[in-house]
C-alpha cells in the first residue's frame, strides 16, 4: 500500500498576493495623486466676476496650468480670495513677479478682446515673471497688463503740465508707427503730471537724449506771420489720443538713454521746433504802443534769423505799483531766447553767457522792435536789431526778468507818423497865410499904382521942363529923356497889368494850394485805407451825370 504523501502546506496562500498588489497599487495612486495635485495658491481680486470654483481654469499661453478650487469673500468685505491649484509641472511659473488677471470679453479703444471666453467662460491668465519661484499668494490685476513683464524695451517718464486726452493704453508713435504704449499717468504735484511710457524693443534705440516727446492727440492748427499750418499724426491718435516722439529739425540724434529717463512732454509738434532746446532764457520787453497782431508763440528774430519766440503777453509781469505809478504803463511781452540757437551751446551755463552777451550788445544799440510780418493777416513779430541812430537803452530788472530796450519800427509807425504830419498840416493857418499874402499883394498893387502916379507926375514935370527948356540947345536932351521915361512907364505898366508879376504870383499860390489839397487827400486816403500805399486805391467808376433821368 502506498503510503500517502503528506506535503507540508505553505502558510500563506498565493491568492493573497492579489490584495497586496492592489494595496500597493492604490498606495502608489494616492502618493501619485498627492505628488501630482500641485501647489495651492491664493489670488486676491476686487471681484470674482466670471470665476467659478471647480470650473474656472488657470492658463498660460492658452495651456491649462491649474484650476480654481475655491472662491471666498475676504474679511474686509471688499475683495475676494480665489484659491487655485497649480499643476506640479507649472510650479516653476509661480515667481515673485508673476501676474494674474481674469480674461473676459472687453471692449475698448484698442478693440475687442477675449471674445472666445463668451462660450468657454472666463479664465485666469497667469503670466510668469523673471524673478525666483516659490510664491503662493498673489494680487490679481483688474485689467491685463499693458506691457508684458518679460518684454524687452525701454521705460520713459514724461513730465508735463497737462495730459489732455491721454489715457493709459494710448499708443506711442515714431514717424507714424506704433512703437509703444502709455502705461500710466499719475499726478506728481498740483501743476505737474508724470506719464510713463513703454517703448518696445528694437524701437527703444530711437529714443536718444535729443529726442522730444509731444502730445499727438487731435489736430494742431497754427496761423502765424509766415503761414497757416495744420498737423496731425496717425488717425488713431487724432481720435483717441497718444504720444509721438521725434528729433527736432536739424538736431543730431544724441546719445542713447537708459531705462527710466525723464523727458518733457511738449503740447504739440510745433512746440518741439519752437523750443527744441532744453535751456532757454526769458526776457521782458516793455512796449509803449499797441502790440495788436502779436500772438503768443510768434517768432523772435535777429535780422531775420529765428532766435526765440514770444512766450506770454500779460500785465502780470508788471508789479501792481509799477502799473499804478507809471503815467503811461507799458505793455509787457515775455520772450524766450534759446542760447542753443545763438551760442550753439545748450547748457545751464549758456543762459548766463547769453545775458552777459546781450547786455554788452544793448549798450551798443541793440533793441527789440515790433514788426508787421504780414500785411494780409496783420500778424506781428519781434525783431532784434541794432539801431545806432537811436539813444542807447540799458538792460534793467523788472520782477525776476531782465528787460531789453524796445523801439517802434514798422509800417504802423510810418502810418502814425503820416497821420501826425497830416494833423499838423491841417492845423497850419493856411487861410490866414493866404489872406496875408493877398493883403501883401494888394499893398504891392497900391504901391505900384502910386508909383505909376508918381511917374505920371514926373512925366508932367518933364513936359513942363520941356516947355521950360524949349531952347534948341537943349531940345535933343529932353526928347531923349522923354523917350526913356516912356519906356520906363511901359515897363511899369506891364508889371502892374493883369498878365504881369502879380498874376504870376496869384497862379503860383493857387498851384500851391492845389498841391496842399492833394497832399491832404493822399494823407486822408492812407489814413482810411493804409494798404492803399502798397495795393493802390480802389478803382472806382465815377457817377455819370444824367445816367438816371
Amino acid at each position: 500500500m502506498n503510503n500517502p504523501i503528506i506535503k507540508r502546506r505553505t502558510r500563506l496562500s498565493s491568492v493573497w498576493l492579489i490584495p497586496l498588489v492592489a494595496i500597493f497599487v492604490s498606495l502608489w495612486f494616492v502618493v501619485q495623486h498627492y505628488m501630482q495635485r500641485g501647489t495651492e495658491i491664493e489670488i486676491r481680486f476686487a471681484s470674482a466676476e466670471g470665476i467659478e470654483a471647480g470650473r474656472t481654469l488657470i492658463k498660460t499661453l492658452n495651456v491649462d496650468v491649474g484650476v480654481v478650487t475655491q472662491v471666498e469673500i475676504n474679511s474686509d468685505l471688499e475683495t475676494v480670495s480665489v484659491v487655485a491649484r497649480i499643476k506640479a509641472q507649472a510650479e516653476d511659473l509661480l515667481r515673485q513677479d508673476s501676474q494674474f488677471w481674469v480674461v473676459k470679453p472687453r471692449v475698448g479703444s484698442k478693440g475687442v478682446s477675449g471674445l472666445s471666453t463668451l462660450f468657454s467662460g472666463a479664465y485666469i491668465e497667469l503670466e510668469p515673471g523673471n524673478d525666483y519661484p516659490g510664491k503662493t499668494s498673489f494680487i490679481g490685476l483688474e485689467n491685463p497688463p499693458l506691457t508684458p513683464a518679460n518684454k524687452k524695451g525701454l521705460n520713459i517718464f514724461l513730465i508735463s503740465n497737462s495730459a489732455a486726452s491721454l489715457n493709459a493704453g494710448d499708443p506711442v508713435l515714431f514717424k507714424g508707427f506704433e512703437v509703444g504704449q502709455i502705461t500710466q499717468i499719475e499726478v506728481l504735484n498740483p501743476t505737474q503730471l508724470k506719464t510713463s511710457l513703454f517703448i518696445e524693443s528694437p524701437y527703444d534705440k530711437m529714443v536718444t537724449s535729443n529726442t522730444r516727446f509731444y502730445n499727438a492727440s487731435g489736430v494742431s492748427l497754427q496761423i502765424n506771420a509766415q503761414s497757416v499750418a495744420m498737423h496731425t499724426d496717425a488717425m488713431e491718435t487724432t481720435l483717441t489720443g497718444g504720444i509721438a516722439f521725434d528729433l527736432p529739425k536739424s538736431s543730431s540724434p544724441g546719445r542713447q538713454v537708459v531705462d527710466g529717463t525723464e523727458f518733457k512732454l511738449y503740447p504739440d509738434r510745433n512746440a518741439i521746433d519752437t523750443h527744441p532746446f532744453q535751456f532757454s532764457v526769458d526776457y521782458l520787453l516793455l512796449f509803449d504802443r499797441s502790440v495788436r497782431g502779436l500772438n503768443i508763440g510768434e517768432v523772435v528774430e535777429y535780422r531775420g534769423i529765428k532766435v526765440g519766440s514770444v512766450v506770454d503777453i500779460a500785465f502780470q509781469y508788471l508789479s501792481e505799483s509799477q502799473f499804478e505809478k507809471a503815467d503811461n504803463p507799458k505793455v509787457p511781452v515775455l520772450i524766450r531766447l534759446d542760447p542753443g540757437r545763438i551760442l550753439a551751446e545748450d547748457s545751464p551755463k549758456s543762459s548766463e553767457k547769453l545775458t552777459a552777451l546781450l547786455r554788452q550788445h544793448v549798450s551798443r544799440g541793440l533793441k527789440a522792435a515790433l514788426k508787421t510780418g504780414s500785411l494780409v493777416t496783420g500778424q506781428s513779430f519781434i525783431q532784434l536789431d541794432f539801431y545806432p541812430d537811436l539813444p542807447v537803452g540799458e538792460m534793467k530788472k523788472v520782477g525776476r526778468y531782465n528787460t531789453l530796450p524796445t523801439t517802434a519800427d514798422d509800417l504802423d509807425s510810418l502810418i502814425s507818423g503820416m497821420t501826425a504830419f497830416t494833423h499838423k498840416l491841417n492845423q497850419l493857418p493856411l487861410d490866414e497865410s493866404v489872406e496875408q499874402i493877398n493883403a501883401t499883394l494888394l499893398s504891392v498893387n497900391q504901391t505900384l499904382l502910386s508909383l505909376e502916379q508918381s511917374i505920371k507926375s514926373i512925366d508932367a514935370l518933364a513936359d513942363s521942363a520941356n516947355q521950360f527948356v524949349s531952347s534948341d540947345a537943349v531940345m535933343q536932351l529932353p526928347e531923349q529923356l522923354n523917350a526913356l521915361l516912356q519906356t520906363t512907364q511901359s515897363s511899369l505898366n506891364q508889371i502892374a497889368s493883369e498878365d504881369g508879376l502879380s498874376n504870376e504870383l496869384n497862379n503860383t499860390l493857387l498851384k500851391l494850394k492845389a498841391t496842399l489839397n492833394s497832399v491832404q487827400r493822399a494823407a486822408e486816403k492812407v489814413e482810411q485805407q493804409p494798404n492803399s500805399v502798397i495795393f493802390g486805391s480802389d478803382n472806382k467808376i465815377d457817377t455819370i451825370p444824367g445816367s438816371k433821368p
Partner: protein, 175 residues
C-alpha cells in the same frame, strides 16, 4: 508740395490784382470863345467859388444834398480861372458900351454841378462894384437846365449854356 502750390496761387492772385488797369482820367474845358480882331473894354471879374468847388474834380449830385467827386473826370484847370475867362469873354463879346474901365464885377457861385438825374445847376449872386463906396446891390440867380444826354461831355456843354445865360443877365442889367 501742396502748400507751395497754394502759396504760388495766392501770390499770383495778388499780383494779378495789382496789375489791373487803372481807369484813364479825362480832363475837360469849357467851349472856346474866339474874340478875334476886336477891341474890348477892360473888365475885372472876381469869381468866388464855394469851398467844395475849389478843386478840379467834377461834382455830381447823387441825390438831394449828396455829392460825389468824380475821380476820373476833372476840369483841366482850377474852376475859378476857367469860369473867369469864359464869363469875361462872354460879357465882352456882347460889347456893352457903357462898361467903365477898372470896373469890378464880383460873381459868387454857390452851386455849379450836374446830377445823375441830368439836371445841371448854377446858383449864386453877382454884383457890380463900380466904386467900393457905391457897391451895387446883389443879384441872385438860380439857373437850371436839363442836359441833352448822359455823360460828362453833355454836362460840360449844358454848364457852358448856363454860364451864357448868366452872362446875358449881367449884360442886360448893365445895358
Amino acid at each position: 508740395m501742396k502748400l507751395k502750390f497754394f502759396i504760388c496761387l495766392i501770390s499770383s492772385v495778388f499780383l494779378v490784382s495789382c496789375a489791373s488797369q487803372v481807369q484813364q482820367t479825362k480832363f475837360y474845358v469849357l467851349p472856346y470863345l474866339p474874340l478875334e480882331n476886336r477891341q474890348t473894354a477892360d473888365l475885372n471879374i472876381d469869381i468866388n467859388l464855394a469851398e467844395y468847388l475849389k478843386q478840379d474834380f467834377m461834382v455830381i449830385e447823387n441825390q438831394e444834398s449828396e455829392l460825389t467827386f468824380a475821380q476820373n473826370h476833372r476840369w483841366a484847370e482850377p474852376l475859378e480861372q476857367l469860369i473867369t475867362r469864359y464869363l469875361s469873354k462872354r460879357i465882352l463879346s456882347a460889347q456893352p458900351e457903357n462898361l467903365l474901365t477898372q470896373t469890378q464885377l464880383e460873381v459868387n457861385i454857390e452851386r455849379f454841378y450836374g446830377s445823375v438825374s441830368g439836371q445841371v445847376y448854377l446858383s449864386g449872386y453877382w454884383q457890380w462894384q463900380a466904386q467900393p463906396e457905391k457897391a451895387d446891390q446883389r443879384h441872385y440867380f438860380d439857373l437850371k437846365a436839363k442836359q441833352s444826354g448822359p455823360g460828362y461831355k453833355n454836362y460840360v456843354e449844358t454848364s457852358a449854356g448856363l454860364l451864357n445865360k448868366l452872362a446875358g443877365q449881367i449884360v442886360e442889367y448893365k445895358l
